[in-house]
């Protein structure tokens, strides 16, 4: 990986707008500017259309003979399938309200990263083939035909959009460029163009159940190790139920939290919480991936990967599913799962918290509850003992992940939990949080190393907001409810606000959780010494019943 320029140089190097009309500017593929292409074998294994070897930096992308027809037909088909697409192609007034809402535009100043122009790349093609005026007047009114450079351009900008939907929030008609990006990615897949960092996890999730392709026995062993670590910290070894039939709850979380620091601490948090509650639950090695890289590929691939959840709930005869902290996983669960693969199997029932008796009526059809909802409810009913003082060494802020914020509306549950488990919680500035939150800069399958500079640019708005609270309030920690964030935010924080650590919500929950019969905690889940353990005795009593 090339060395990154300093933040101020990064921003100073954003080029000004060029004089030329955007229709005349060709995309540029320099190393560091694009994600590596998917491997031919991967695409073959997944039965993707037109698998082939190709190189984005090369002139010829090896498109199939009839590529133009293929894409045009696919586009026409999508128009018939999605009202959103037709509408979004027709009614944009180019008011520009969405322009400076996109983190990619703010970080690169590339005009084609303004959501409106990103959509216009496809709209210009729509005009020629699907509108009367476009057919008649052509380029004068921004219509153009397909050529290979157009395909390249679409690829370039469909993979500089993290499908975060921030633009859609501000658009007076709700035009969702994320929706357009999803469809453009589908079109590109029709001619065999995809990226390695998305398709490899898709393959792994499909065939082994998790995105690294870890086989079941290793998966179990890793979780056992994490349970051992819990024991080191608390003196209690949480149980690790796998593939158990007839458990009340099937728990599914992104597999990233099993493998990667700092997600593993969140995973340990789940283990400890469930153990403390004596929850009747099970993990599954088959449906061990909550995240859904299929959703970065095509609607159908998302459906395919998601299908395992209900299939496994049915096989294991679980009553309902509890879902861990993850962003795009929850977009899929909230807005797509029931449609894709529902109705939920007959053995599943309306989710009821076995601890508090609360019915989650908002999940009555999908039968799937978010862990932040579950935990907030426990706290509200005083079912957990906390010593928030154990989190006193951090001053934390909270990063709303795009999907829970703008595709689910999960904003206050994690804050409710956070306020209960730590004493120092500071919000970032108003226009960068909640439904207006900025992306981590690397969602939707862009968190790959080869585009690190681009990621840091796209992470600029988030990074700046973080640095602002770091400087002003001494914030040294950022909590989030997303596994991708836990992978993407540490480098972002390191770059934009060095010294800020990142964790999931349930790591902080478990840090503060007073477990029955636990040993005196001298370290946090990361096995770092808790500062001032001695003085904390009294605070611990106060903290009880929070």
């Amino acid at each position: 990986m090339a060395k990154l320029p300093a933040p101020q140089d990064l921003l100073a190097s954003r080029p000004p707008f060029q004089g030329e009309h955007w229709l005349d500017i060709k995309p540029d593929f320099v190393p560091g500017g694009f994600c590596y292409p998917a491997k031919k074998e991967t695409m073959e294994l997944l039965h993707m259309p037109n698998p082939h070897e190709w190189d984005p930096a090369a002139d010829d992308w090896g498109l199939p003979e009839n590529w133009e027809q293929t894409i045009c037909d696919a586009f026409a088909e999508r128009l018939e399938k999605h009202r959103s697409l037709k509408l979004f192609m027709d009614i944009c007034v180019r008011c520009g309200a969405c322009a400076d809402k996109c983190h990619f535009f703010l970080g690169t100043n590339d005009p084609k990263n303004m959501p409106v122009l990103r959509a216009e790349l496809l709209r210009s093609l729509y005009r020629r083939d699907h509108t009367m005026l476009g057919k008649l007047l052509g380029k004068t009114i921004g219509a153009r035909g397909w050529d290979k450079n157009v395909v390249k351009e679409l690829f370039c900008y469909a993979y500089q959009c993290t499908e975060c939907r921030r633009c859609s929030l501000f658009c007076p008609y709700g035009i969702d460029t994320a929706e357009i990006t999803m469809i453009v990615r589908e079109l590109l897949h029709e001619v065999g163009l995809g990226t390695h960092w998305i398709m490899d996890p898709v393959k792994n999730c499909s065939f082994t159940g998790n995105h690294l392709g870890i086989q079941p026995h290793s998966f179990v062993e890793i979780v056992e190790m994490l349970a051992d670590d819990c024991e080191t910290v608390t003196g209690i070894r949480p149980k690790t139920p796998f593939n158990q039939k007839n458990a009340e709850i099937l728990f599914i979380t992104p597999s990233g939290d099993v493998f990667a620091d700092p997600g593993i601490y969140t995973f340990m948090g789940y283990l400890m919480l469930f153990h403390e509650l004596d929850l009747d639950y099970t993990f599954s090695t088959y449906a061990s991936e909550g995240g859904n890289f299929g959703s970065f590929t095509s609607f159908n691939m998302a459906k395919k990967l998601n299908a395992k959840m209900y299939a496994e709930a049915e096989r294991l005869n679980a009553k309902w599913i509890l879902g861990g902290e993850c962003g795009h996983m929850w977009r899929v669960i909230n807005q797509y799962m029931d449609t894709y693969n529902g109705p939920a199997p007959a053995n599943m029932i309306l989710p009821v918290s076995p601890i508090t008796g609360t019915t989650f009526t908002n999940a009555s059809s999908t039968k799937m509850v978010h862990i932040a909802e579950f935990t907030a409810d426990l706290i509200h009913h005083n079912k957990l003992n906390f010593d928030p003082g154990r989190n006193d060494h951090i001053i934390t802020t909270f990063h709303d992940s795009c999907n829970p914020a703008r595709g689910l509306g999960l904003l206050d549950e994690p804050r409710y939990v956070l306020n209960a488990v730590c004493n120092n919680f500071v919000e970032m500035p108003e226009n960068t949080i909640r439904e207006q939150t900025f992306c981590c800069g690397a969602g939707s399958g862009l968190n790959t190393e080869e585009i690190m500079e681009l990621r840091m640019r796209a992470g600029m708005p988030r990074g700046n907001a973080l640095r602002y609270v770091q400087q002003k309030f001494g914030v040294n920690h950022m909590a989030c409810v997303c596994a991708i964030d836990r992978a993407t935010l540490p480098p972002l924080a390191n770059y934009w606000a060095p010294g800020v650590t990142v964790s999931g919500l349930h790591e902080l929950v478990a840090n503060a959780l007073v477990m029955k019969g636990e040993q005196k905690r001298t370290m946090d889940l990361r096995q770092e010494d808790l500062p001032g353990v001695e003085e904390d005795e009294s605070a611990a009593q106060e903290g009880e019943g929070e």
């Binding site: 921003l11 100073a12 128009l79 018939e80 399938k81 697409l85 037709k86 509408l87 027709d90 009614i91 007034v93 180019r94 520009g96 322009a99 703010l106 005009p111 303004m114 409106v116 509108t131 009114i141 921004g142 929030l169 007076p172 008609y173 709700g174 969702d176 929706e179 082994t208 086989q215 079941p216 026995h217 796998f242 593939n243 039939k245 088959y286 459906k303 395919k304 395992k308 299939a311 909230n334 807005q335 029931d338 449609t339 529902g342 908002n362 009555s364 059809s365 999908t366 509200h380 703008r406 689910l408 509306g409 904003l411 206050d412 549950e413 409710y416 226009n431 960068t432 439904e435 700046n464």
Partner: protein, 335 residues
């Protein structure tokens, strides 16, 4: 930008000259009929075209807290989960431009320009709202010409609109404000770099067209004063499908009518169709209740996935090794 200005001027000039040399019926009678027909049929077709495609997924953009636990306050209108909530959300979008109200402007600050601020920026919202409402009011005021007797509400509007009591005939505020708002919207496109870059002929054209309509309208009222009595008789002739002779009416009137006709003709084939489109927007007009109510996708493809049985077949031995429960024990698991 100049291209579209020229085009509008050309349309106006042709109509003006044409009706001056005796083609007034063409511009004053035939064209409006045609335009109205195209507008109505065009908009209906456009909406039918949208409606023909299904909404396969429930994809509202959640603009606030979802409905979940009792003690967590839902943003009822920014993240509605009921029909009433959606109705209010749509109402706010259509009548108050709710989303545009959120608008911010990003700027770099700080000693080496690495801080970002997001100023609340309500100008676009303000002028867009003013423009649309003034347009609506001006449109409603025109019923004075279309109906006999003049409805009471039209007279009320006129009184309100002329409340400043300046000049004779009384100056209508809406006309002036409409022009100001249009010039602001045009000015944005010219002076804001981002907007200049994204603007197409298709964006300038409607704005110039509207400017043209407003200007000719204002002229008719205050400068090249049209003989209102004659105009009214002429228009009533049209609305009753028995057109009368246009003789004696100023050609400027026909320029005005022609520009309005051009707007109607252009409307269904352009971005102006947003008037109908906004009602269809799935990110706004759906309830965030997809975990409570199953949304149906009419083209939902069949399920196809790597099943548990296939999975166990692939990994049975290693699964047995770590003691995972199995559906079918491997032969040597008996040991």
């Amino acid at each position: 930008m100049f291209l579209s200005l020229l085009l509008v001027l050309l349309i106006g000039a042709v109509a003006w000259a044409g009706s001056a040399v005796g083609f007034a019926s063409l511009f004053g009678v035939a064209l409006p009929y045609l335009a109205l027909a195209v507008f109505i049929v065009g908009m209906v077709c456009r909406m039918a075209y949208w409606a023909k495609s299904p909404v396969p997924f429930c994809i509202p953009t959640t603009g606030g807290q979802e409905q979940s636990l009792d003690f967590i306050k839902q943003a009822k209108f920014d993240c509605p989960n009921t029909r009433i909530g959606v109705f209010v959300r749509m109402f706010l979008e259509i009548f108050l431009f709710r989303s545009l109200f959120r608008n911010t402007q990003a700027d770099l600050v700080g000693n080496n320009g690495t801080g970002t601020v997001y100023y609340s920026s309500k100008w676009l919202w303000c002028f867009a709202l003013v423009f649309h409402y003034c347009f609506l009011l001006v449109f409603l005021r025109h019923f004075r010409f279309f109906t006999e007797p003049v409805p009471f509400w039209t007279t009320c509007l006129e009184t309100l609109d002329g409340v400043m009591q300046i000049g004779a005939p009384r100056f209508f505020m809406t006309g002036g404000i409409l022009l100001a708002a249009l010039l602001f919207l045009l000015g944005r496109r010219v002076f804001n770099e981002q907007l200049r870059y994204i603007s197409l002929v298709n964006d300038y054209f409607p704005l110039w067209l509207l400017v043209g309509i407003v200007c000719t309208g204002v002229c008719l009222r205050y400068f090249d004063k049209a003989e209102i009595a004659m105009v009214k008789i002429f228009i009533m002739g049209i609305t009753h499908f028995s057109p009368v002779s246009p003789d004696g009416i100023t050609p400027l009137f026909f320029a005005h009518v022609t520009l309005v006709s051009a707007l109607l003709l252009y409307f269904p084939f352009s971005k102006l169709a947003h008037m109908g489109g906004i009602f269809f927007s799935p990110t706004r007009n759906m309830a965030n209740n997809s975990r409570r109510v199953r949304h149906i996708n009419p083209w939902n493809p069949p399920k196809q996935y790597f099943t548990y049985a296939e999975y166990e077949d692939t990994y049975r031995d290693v699964m047995a090794e770590v003691g995972l429960p199995l559906e079918k024990e491997p032969d040597r698991a008996a040991e």
